[in-house]
Symmetry: C2
């Protein structure tokens, strides 16, 4: 003898319980079915990948025997197959580059790989726009510090603003290194060096935080190291802006080609952007030279005894390592590109 | 008139091209089908979630009219439905807690949510073991510094080891904050305060890096602040170890229940661990008291003019904020638990 409204309530509750069970079953079956199907695609992608590789090498080996136009045609077809596999939706099922220690150190064993190509491209786009935003700050902060130094602070930087700037740099490089590692897991071909380069920059920012900002009468002399560091940072900002412009265009070309589904025009992929690269590189080389120069100056101030903190020496060495590595890797990139 | 081996090659190449196209189609269709099915499950999970909520409130409202045993039974059934929805496989399709600014700042818009419950539990387990490993280091490093200070360094800490330790702390807190944000996205009910607490600790580690480690004859006096900081760190290590033991047992209970599929025994979930909590909390309160005390001592040294750096004052204030927040949130956790 429960009222009709109560009865309705009882019915609704049991319906909800029913629905919850049903939803649980549906979810469990979708998840297990999807993971099974993904496993099978993963196997197929793997075996296709290795057949492409072995076919390529057997074509190369029998190159002398084959008709050269035929060999070329076969290579082209294989290239197309490889491109489809690596750049299409199937790429999600190829083994990903390993997570790397850095990501595991900060995030643990979480999966950061996106299955869908459009999501991957969005991540890359966001990375580019993050770089864009920071490149301007990169120019702005050290410029501001240098200007205020002569206008307001009478040639003597106070510690706090410099340290705030250095803390920002540390955050920035950590963020860049994390994002680049994530991009790598998502199939980017970024050279490991560009990521290591950000580890070195992180180390430099951390070290510079412990660097004592001298006060007192002879601070102008003692702050030479900091000032050099700021000038290098401005240069880095310029390099970043130029590089961003180039990378953005490269990405847009790729997205446009992807959207148009014109996987076959990959040859010409960078054609429109190639020209820019030859313009960008001389500027990069000059900046890299300046980077090494700043490193040497830091070492000089340290060894002449003006400032003798270990921080100055270490930063000098790090700058020189970065300059040499950047130069070597830029050259290698150019060599690889001109060979294709 | 190509040779038979050439013909075989040509055939193999065209087969590979065929396979690549096929795999591309299969991948594309799996990805789009899965995302369609996930969308529909997402809708169902959402609407079920809101019907559970509205039913609960209508039962509560008509509480006076309903037979009390009936009302209790209905509430229990609803609880079961809610538990199934929130803790089962369907949970993957409930809207996740938003990513939060912190994760976006460091990682960009990447998805860190695991669909599968066992993966989520693995992430949590790894977080616990990360905490375990670090808790020992947390005890070890400051102890080592304090011991070496009186044994080798004649009461005067050198800067480099302390700064290395502080850099390690900064890394550690950043890692913890990132991991906890990831756990939250994966459905953990962690109170926001425990994450904010790590943001404060990050700020403190960063600030302490810029803290000048005094040298010279009266360093013992001037290093009072650093020494207090180290003592607090040892306390923090003890708190972490105790907390870890408790949290690990909680997780194992949960995993065991999950594996046994005994979703219905959720009531007793923490029963075995509850006792431990009442043992843990007094110790936590003592540690929190000590935390506030260290904060006050830092402020005192600053205001008595022994050390007058802004870093000391800020760290003092941060410690007091953390102590008060930790206390308030521990009490709230206890109140919530005793109410259930
Ligand atoms: C030399 C350079 C312009 C070549 O760029 P590129 O043409 O894109 O090079 P690649 O074709 O080898 O790029 C492969 C991938 O790595 C990425 N990449 C290349 N250089 C990168 C860098 N410095 N940082 C981050 N990603 C980079 C590209 O975006 C591309 O990603 P994708 O596979 O997801 O599309 C570029 O590497 C560069 O500007 N480097 C920095 C130079 C420097 O020294 N800066 C500091 C001066 S002080
Ligand atoms: C008080 C305390 C023991 C309660 O722990 P609890 O019983 O797990 O609390 P809850 O039931 O509210 O936990 C809900 C969730 O938050 C997590 N959580 C609770 N406190 C946490 C903390 N301090 N850090 C990280 N995660 C925490 C739990 O693991 C649980 O996660 P789950 O949903 O994935 O299972 C715990 O919060 C604690 O130890 N806090 C730190 C106390 C402190 O002040 N330390 C510093 C002293 S100097």
């Amino acid at each position: 003898d429960i009222s009709s409204s109560d009865r309705a309530l009882v019915e609704q509750v049991s319906r909800v319980v029913e629905q919850a069970k049903e939803l649980q079953d549906l979810s469990a079956s979708l998840i297990s079915r999807t993971s099974r199907e993904e496993d099978s695609l993963r196997q197929r992608a793997n075996s296709l990948n290795s057949s492409i590789h072995s076919l390529r090498s057997s074509i190369r080996k029998s190159n002398l025997l084959l008709d050269s136009t035929l060999a070329e045609k076969l290579e082209e077809e294989l290239f197309r197959a490889r491109y489809l596999l690596n750049e299409g939706d199937a790429a999600a099922f190829l083994p990903s580059k390993s997570h790397g220690r850095f990501l595991r150190m900060f995030l643990g064993p979480i999966n950061v790989r996106a299955n869908r190509k459009d999501v991957q491209l969005k991540v890359k786009e966001e990375y580019n726009s993050f770089r864009d935003r920071t490149a301007y700050l990169f120019l702005f902060f050290p410029l501001l510090l240098i200007v205020l130094r002569s206008w307001i602070w009478n040639g003597c930087l106070p510690a706090l603003p410099v340290q705030l700037y250095q803390a920002w740099l540390l955050y920035l490089y950590t963020g860049l290194a994390l994002r680049e590692n994530i991009l790598r897991v998502n199939g980017s071909d970024i050279r490991p060096w560009w990521i290591y380069h950000h580890y070195f920059a992180m180390a430099m920012a951390l070290i510079s935080l412990t660097w004592e900002i001298e006060r007192g009468p002879d601070c102008a002399q003692k702050q030479k190291g900091v000032l050099l560091y700021l000038k290098w940072a401005i240069m880095q900002g310029i390099a970043m802006l130029l590089q961003n412009r180039y990378q953005r265009q490269r990405l847009y070309t790729r997205i446009a080609l992807g959207k148009a589904g014109r996987m076959d025009v990959v040859w010409g992929e960078t054609a429109g952007v190639e020209g820019q690269l030859w313009l960008l590189c001389p500027i990069l080389f000059i900046l890299q030279g300046f980077e090494a120069y700043v490193g040497l100056l830091l070492l000089k101030t340290a060894f002449l005894g003006v400032i003798s903190e270990w921080q100055v020496i270490t930063c000098g060495i790090l700058l020189i390592i970065m300059a040499v590595g950047n130069f070597a890797n830029t050259v290698q990139t150019l060599v690889t590109k001109s060979r294709v």
